[in-house]
């Protein structure tokens, strides 16, 4: 049997078309992975330079309750070494659950392909973007989340929950990033029910309290970087404005 003079060259040439398919397949896989990362909770490292925002234990605690009931809906964001970029409160809440033996699963993460130690500006940009742009949940989605929380024992009653009870709306507000009041409206849109009297004083008080806290933080030289303090102040202002707008709309009706 005589070999063709360039059998090996032809063979290698023929496999060239597979190379480009390999590259395309790799891209598809990388894109899919971007949304489906996961890490062991213990492997997630602290933000280089520590948390830029104060972790509020109350907030972490209420998040822990909803995480226990719903799981982690929005992945944490980490850099390529596993340093946290966004989701400080969610991470604190997960750690609380782990301490209590209520979280043993891998944590969904989105991996950003850079090293936060070498690119601190990029890390801050991710954090700010993540905090500024929370996912917009539709009223229907909010309703579905509320139903799951109710099934897990959260109560939708107004006023302070009784001892041992967990309040639905603050928990939902933590997840969705909207005020309890707005959420009540969402739920009403999703499934029309008899309108309930608005708790104007409560909502405004919360908004004012938040603003006062942000101002106090801003004036306190020891609390975080200037940029972080300004950001918190702006966030609080936005919150108050939102509440006022809702009040005005209510008054117009």
């Amino acid at each position: 049997m005589n070999q063709k003079p360039n059998l090996w060259g032809n063979t290698l040439q023929a496999s060239k078309s597979l190379e480009s398919q390999d590259a395309a397949a790799k891209e598809v896989k990388a894109a899919a992975k971007d949304n489906a990362g996961a890490m062991a909770l213990g492997d997630i490292l602290e933000r280089p330079g520590g948390d830029t925002r104060t972790i509020h234990p109350d907030h972490a605690e209420s998040l822990a309750l909803s995480l226990e009931a719903l799981g982690l809906l929005e992945p944490l964001v980490v850099d390529n070494a596993g340093h946290l970029l966004a989701g400080g409160h969610r991470l604190a809440a997960l750690r609380l659950l782990e301490e209590r033996g209520k979280w043993g699963k891998p944590v969904p993460v989105r991996v950003m392909d850079f090293d936060a130690c070498k690119n601190p500006e990029e890390a801050l940009a991710v954090e700010v973007a993540e905090n500024a742009q929370r996912r917009d949940y539709s009223p229907k989605e909010v309703k579905a989340l509320a139903d799951r929380l109710k099934a897990a024992g959260f109560k939708a009653d107004r006023g302070k929950p009784k001892a041992g009870e967990r309040a639905l709306f603050p928990a939902l507000a933590d997840i969705v990033g909207k005020s309890p009041k707005q959420l009540r409206r969402y739920l009403a849109e999703a499934a029309p029910v008899t309108p309930e009297p608005a708790d104007k004083a409560d909502a405004l008080q919360v908004a004012e309290g938040r603003l006062a806290k942000a101002v106090a933080n801003y004036l306190d030289a020891a609390k975080g970087s200037r940029a972080a303090k300004v950001r918190r102040l702006v966030e609080a202002l936005g919150f108050v404005v939102e509440e006022l707008e809702l009040e005005t709309k209510d008054a117009d009706k």
């Binding site: 070999q3 090996w8 290698l12 597979l18 190379e19 590259a23 213990g42 492997d43 390529n80 090293d115």
Partner: protein, 234 residues
């Protein structure tokens, strides 16, 4: 005198059965004659450990890359060689969902300055990607047959910039026309050096009996592997 970086070698191929494990285990055992070495098996089959007479089911690279304890198995008679088995743990999705730099730093910590030989699974994939990222030298194994040769360039396409690479034409039997033709002509179509490793009954006997090539009866294949080590050490 500047200390040279220890060798880090990925042994890969697209086609199965071309002798990746034999080459990887052979090279690791021969390297251990002159230095501290480690063989890491990235294949779910975990044949590397078997070929060296070790426990293929021991906690291996799947565990190590998740930061869990793994067995660094020692080879009797070759004190300077450690073997980390493969096995189903390699397919744990969590391994590949964690950030890339995490698994890479765990692999480097595992090798801890030893010469590292990584036996990749056939067909490419995450494990091969990791090995190729960690490796200073990429060895693409083929046999003298077009179906094996067709995979060479697909592996070489993943070579990192500045990474040394060579093709190993394995199981060469000069009595066969196709083999002779490959030995004479294949290299002309490659842009990396090509080494040949001659077929030898001693090689398959050694693997079947769990004896490292460095301790087996001397044969042509061992001479060929030593020539590859010499090239990598340059």
């Amino acid at each position: 005198m500047s200390k040279k970086k220890p060798l880090s070698i990925a042994v890969a191929a697209r086609k199965g059965g071309v002798g990746k494990t034999t080459i990887a285990a052979g090279l690791a055992s021969l390297l251990a004659r002159s230095r501290e070495a480690m063989l890491v098996d990235f294949d779910t089959q975990s044949n590397s450990a078997m070929a060296l007479g070790l426990d293929a089911a021991a906690a291996g690279i799947g565990e190590a890359l998740l930061g869990k304890p793994c067995a660094r198995q020692e080879v009797p008679g070759l004190e300077r060689l450690q073997v980390v088995a493969g096995g189903p743990g390699v397919e744990n999705p969590l391994l590949w969902q964690q950030p890339g730099a995490v698994r890479l730093s765990r692999l480097e910590a595992l090798a801890a300055g030893r010469a590292l030989v990584m036996d990749c699974p056939p067909g490419g994939g995450d494990a091969e990607d990791l090995a190729l990222t960690a490796a200073g030298v990429l060895l693409v194994v083929t046999e003298p047959h077009p179906l094996a040769v067709a995979g060479i360039s697909r592996v070489l396409a993943h070579r990192r910039k500045g990474q040394r690479a060579a093709v190993i034409l394995n199981k060469l039997d000069s009595r066969r026309k196709l083999d002779k033709d490959a030995a004479a002509n294949l290299g002309r179509f490659l842009d990396v050096p090509m080494f040949t490793v001659r077929a030898a009954a001693e090689v398959s006997n050694a693997a079947a009996n769990g004896v490292p090539l460095a301790l087996a009866k001397k044969c042509k294949a061992v001479e060929d592997l030593l020539a590859i080590i010499e090239w990598m050490d340059k």
